[in-house]
């Protein structure tokens, strides 16, 4: 069915550029007789250049099956339908496009085809897919290990080795740690894939494998494809590798804060295996996970220990406070009896004592001592009550508290000829009773420690700080405090003056500090000797707007 026409337009006349196109081009007539084809095309297909022009395409395709894609595509093209398909031909893959071939009037005169060889691209894609799949597998394995939440290090290591062995398809995966003296490594866990079981306890003396341990210090991974000959791992050959049939090793040091503390070992049994960069990187990540697991377990241990210590401290502190309270409470009773019966005795012996001044003096000293002890115990109890007998916090208007305190101190203020000046005070959250005590003590001190001949001027100020705290200052013009005592004065029973100068138990400021601390605040003093003192209190200011409703 060849025609002279088709022969005339055959390939020899094709322009040279046509030969350069990296694709196969062909044209057929209405009877699917090949009329043109690009040079590379048929050579590529294994035919000689000119032999095919004039031949029926179906013969060349060796198929007349109407469902065979190339046959179907050419038949459809004759009916005006374009098609695209992929086909494998002689071991290669082609992306093929077949169109109707129309003359200038648009009438279908035959078919025109173009095919690109995509074999290489396909292979690249395939290997990419494989690689991606593997990477994904590694990532998934790492993710599931990273998510593993077991504080038990042994369980964590078992999970890690098993997952590692299954992911990298390695016969033996083990984790080793250096002993304390760092002269040997001990196998913490060895997972055996064939048995799906674990072993542990082997010990290797570092001295016997100097090259291996040297390599370990300086490498991120030791990937020994041929472990028996590898300069880093050959030392294991006779005793270990050959007897166990191990051919390839992939070992990764486990580092904790820069120091090698152990090793993750992969041992491959069978024909030598090449460790890919991905596999090496996976193994390195596993080692990182091991060090994370160790850190987590250490941290957990430390946390537990810390919590225990804290609880213990809180408990013993509470016990101590309770003890202080009970002890001072119980000391009170017999002391009160001593005082009361001393009073009785004094009444009974009154006449006798009047005649014996020495006995009377002893008696008075006895009573003085007992009274003083009573005062100390009472103050101690007050301090203990700050925590043991605390009331829940409520909104407290410090203006009202200070008014009440000043009214309590009215007599003393009058007697001293001084003044207490209070600026507007905030409302804070606290224990009203304790806050009353606090200001009673501070203002009381300000009046008490005045300079002779100078009437006490006391000022109470407050200001809101940016930090959400309120600063309250109690400023006096009294005798002042030497800087070396600024901190000391808050300690229990700390006194700076003789009782003849200023009376007191030395518990007042301890009480103040305790109260301020219970309110989440701090108290400090700054002062100049002979010029007055300023006590500063910092307490949290409640964020909620203060209630304005007043009765």
């Amino acid at each position: 069915m060849t025609t002279p026409d088709t022969k005339k337009t055959a390939t020899p006349d094709s322009p040279p550029w046509l030969e350069q196109i990296p694709a196969i081009l062909w044209v057929t007539d209405k009877n699917l007789i090949l009329t043109h084809s690009s040079g590379t095309a048929l050579v590529h297909l294994g035919f000689k250049q000119h032999e095919n022009v004039g031949k029926n395409l179906l013969d060349l395709l060796e198929s007349r099956d109407p469902e065979h894609l190339p046959v179907k595509a050419h038949r459809q093209a004759l009916e005006g339908i374009s098609s695209t398909y992929e086909t494998r031909f002689m071991g290669r893959t082609y992306h093929t496009h077949v169109d109707p071939y129309r003359d200038t009037q648009g009438n279908i005169q035959g078919t025109i085809g173009i095919a690109f060889d995509i074999t290489d691209r396909d292979e690249a894609q395939e290997s990419l897919i494989q690689k991606t799949t593997k990477t994904l597998k590694y990532q998934r394995a790492l993710l599931s290990l990273a998510r593993m939440k077991t504080p038990l290090i042994d369980e964590a290591l078992r999970n890690i080795t098993k997952m590692d062995a299954h992911t990298l398809e390695v016969s033996r995966v083990s984790i080793w740690f250096f002993n304390e003296t760092r002269d040997s490594i001990v196998c913490q866990v060895l997972y055996l894939e064939d048995r799906d079981g674990y072993e542990s306890g082997s010990v290797l003396c570092a001295e016997e494998f100097p090259d291996y341990f040297k390599a370990l210090e300086s490498s991120r991974t030791i990937a020994a494809d041929h472990a028996r000959e590898d300069p880093r791992t050959y030392e294991f050959n006779s005793s270990y590798l050959t007897p166990l049939g191990i051919t390839s090793m992939l070992d990764v040091p486990i580092r904790l804060s820069g120091m090698v503390v152990g090793i993750v070992c992969h041992e491959h049994v069978g024909p030598p295996r090449e460790w890919s960069p991905e596999e090496q990187s996976f193994a390195a990540s596993v080692a990182d996970l091991v060090s994370l697991a160790i850190e987590a377990s250490e941290r957990k241990k430390a946390e537990v220990a810390l919590r225990k210590t804290t609880e213990e401290l809180i408990r013993s502190n509470q016990e101590l406070e309770q003890f202080a309270y009970v002890a001072s409470h119980d000391l009170q009773e017999p002391l009160h009896k001593i005082i009361a019966f001393a009073d009785r005795l004094q009444d009974r012996l009154e006449k006798h004592l009047d005649q014996d001044p020495k006995a009377k003096d002893y008696f008075q000293r006895l009573q003085g001592g007992a009274n003083r002890m009573r005062q100390l115990i009472e103050d101690l109890l007050q301090v203990a009550r700050i925590t043991t007998r605390a009331q829940p916090f409520e909104e407290v208007d410090l203006d009202l508290i200070l008014k009440a305190v000043i009214s309590d101190l009215e007599l003393r203020v009058k007697k001293s000829g001084g003044e207490i000046h209070v600026e507007s005070m905030p409302k804070i959250r606290g224990d009203a009773l304790q806050l009353h005590q606090l200001f009673q003590n501070l203002l009381g001190n300000a009046l008490k420690f005045s300079r002779p001949g100078i009437s006490p001027q006391v000022q109470v100020k407050s200001r809101l700080l940016q930090t959400g705290l309120v600063e309250i200052s109690v400023i006096d013009n009294g005798i002042g405090i030497d800087p070396q005592y600024w901190e000391k004065i808050f300690k229990p029973f700390q006194r700076l003056h003789s009782r003849e100068q200023f009376d007191g138990s030395g518990m007042g400021l301890t009480l103040c500090q305790k109260i301020v601390e219970r309110h989440g605040g701090k108290i400090s003093v700054s002062s100049r000797l002979g010029q007055g003192s300023e006590f500063k209190i910092l307490v949290p200011f409640p964020h909620s707007p203060p209630m304005t409703s007043q009765p």
Binding site: Q332, H336, A340
Partner: protein, 146 residues
């Protein structure tokens, strides 16, 4: 005015020293009246109910006042307070509680139960006397008792 002699005060106090101080302070304060003593809460309830070793008191009039020490063995004042105040006819006897220290919760609970007065046990004997004088003038000379 000297009708104190007929008044009976029940003192619930385990501590001999405190009992002695109470008694002597009452004497000095000239609070002259009859006095019975029990040493713990169990005895106190037995006394009021005229049972146990107090069965013999059956038929005698109940005390006009009760002095109750808060810290006593067996059944302490805190427990016994509620029992007395819940039960007729004991609940109409004025009940005065005494303690060396005053815990806020004891005070609040006491008054809530119907306690009539709460006193801190004084230190100095003169204070004991002053307290007894006040009790005498208020409960025995001013207030009307049932």
């Amino acid at each position: 005015m000297n009708q104190n002699g007929n008044t009976l005060i029940l003192v619930a106090e385990d501590d001999d020293d405190h009992f002695l101080l109470t008694r002597e302070a009452m004497e000095v304060a000239q609070l002259h009246c009859r006095m019975d003593r029990v040493r713990d809460g169990v005895e106190l309830m037995d006394y009021l109910r005229r049972q146990g070793k107090f069965a013999g008191l059956s038929g005698n009039p109940l005390p006009s006042l009760i002095f109750l020490d808060l810290n006593m063995p067996k059944k302490d004042g805190r427990e016994v307070m509620g029992e007395i105040k819940e039960q007729s006819p004991f609940n109409r006897i004025p009940l005065l509680a005494f303690s060396t220290s005053l815990a806020q919760e004891d005070v609040e609970r006491g008054y809530a139960l119907g306690l009539n007065s709460f006193f801190r046990k004084p230190t100095h004997f003169s204070e004991w006397v002053a307290m007894m004088k006040l009790i005498k003038s208020y409960w025995l000379e001013t207030a009307v008792l049932p």
